[in-house]
Symmetry: C2
Subunit: 187 residues, 2 copies
DNA sequence: TGTACATCAGTGAACGCGCGTTCACTGATGTAC
DNA sequence: TGTACATCAGTGAACGCGCGTTCACTGATGTAC
């Protein structure tokens, strides 16, 4: 609640990271300006000193969530050559399934974004392509397989989060893990 | 706008099928009682003669959407032995990708349902298991592969609907089609 | 270094709006005689 | 078969509520002298 320029930066940062968590937990439409500002220990009126509108905030929050999520399931970020098997196992882990709020934002928000306008879809498209490119490299150059693997990873994670029975949910992850690890061997 | 019992049945039917379309187009939260009733050529007050609440309607609409969607991408419904390759090709067709409103409701709503309460997740879980069972039969008994195939089909369709570039979107469908058809041969 | 003041981060009341839900009402339906 | 009336499908005004956004204000910050 300070008044310095540094405080403002920190406020914006708090708003944005709260929003990035919120959209992964409840979807893009679940963000309300009032609740968000309260969570960031501010009052609603100050919001428009940071963002032009709720839609503007949503666009920034999506970017933030995608950036956060991209590193969340990687064993070690910064490793120049991400390992395919490690990524698959991490992506399809129970831990990742159970941490919607901090995990891969593509899986959390693909359904919402599929319904959104083209500019929003472009933002997520770019992140998907980055993910595919990383998997392509990890597979030693197999772009079609990488594209399929990414689709299948996302699908398995989303489906595992739907399954009400935990055994069934685990089975989804296990089946996908098994089949996707087998994919690498046929390279 | 009639007043007979038969009219009431038809009204309920109209409300429900409009809602089933609406949730697949805009998500569960996109349904508003007022707009829905207007689309069904009724006034908002009459809604509560058909459903106990908006939440009650949503549960019925999800069931309806899932039932409608299940038959949408099958070449011929009623065929006792659905063909694996035919189902994969139909599910991953551009036509299916472009008809969110009438296509598979699992793909359209999995993201929303993943965030919903357990009773809602149970409804979709049951439908996913039915889909898996059908694929299992089509594959001649390979439950793990069937589970993976269903996850991958859903993932590929969702991702293809996110991709802003049509070429990229087509590539997602093509890659998944190719890999999933290859799955059958290793049975 | 100390003071005077413009800037601007954050506050909270107020706005118009659409929402889900309730309810007194209307008039066609369908049943009892 | 014809009439009288209870039922109930559908209407539309009204409710309280939370929403996104605006704006006059407060007071700490940081700059000009």
């Amino acid at each position: 609640m300070g008044h310095s320029q540094a405080d403002k930066m920190r406020s914006r940062e708090r708003i944005l990271s709260e929003a990035a968590e919120q959209i992964r937990d409840g979807g893009l439409e679940s963000v309300s300006v009032g609740k968000l500002m309260r969570r960031a220990n501010l009052t609603h009126g100050g919001f428009y000193g940071h963002f032009a509108s709720r839609a503007d905030l949503l666009a920034h929050a999506l970017e933030r969530a995608l950036d956060d999520g991209a590193t969340a399931f990687e064993a070690k970020k910064g490793s120049t050559h991400p390992d395919y098997a490690v990524t698959v196992k991490s992506y399809l882990s129970r831990k990742h399934r159970d941490s919607r709020t901090t995990g891969c934002a593509i899986a959390a928000l693909a359904g919402d974004v599929a319904r959104a306008e083209e500019p929003v879809r472009e933002v997520m498209s770019a992140h998907i392509e980055q993910f595919v490119a990383r998997m392509d490299r990890a597979l030693g150059g197999a772009p079609e397989k990488a594209l399929f693997a990414v689709s299948a990873l996302i699908g398995a994670l989303v489906v595992s989060r739907v399954m009400a029975d935990e055994k069934q949910s685990d089975a989804v992850l296990a089946a996908a893990k098994r089949e996707l690890l087998a994919l690498e061997e046929n390279c």
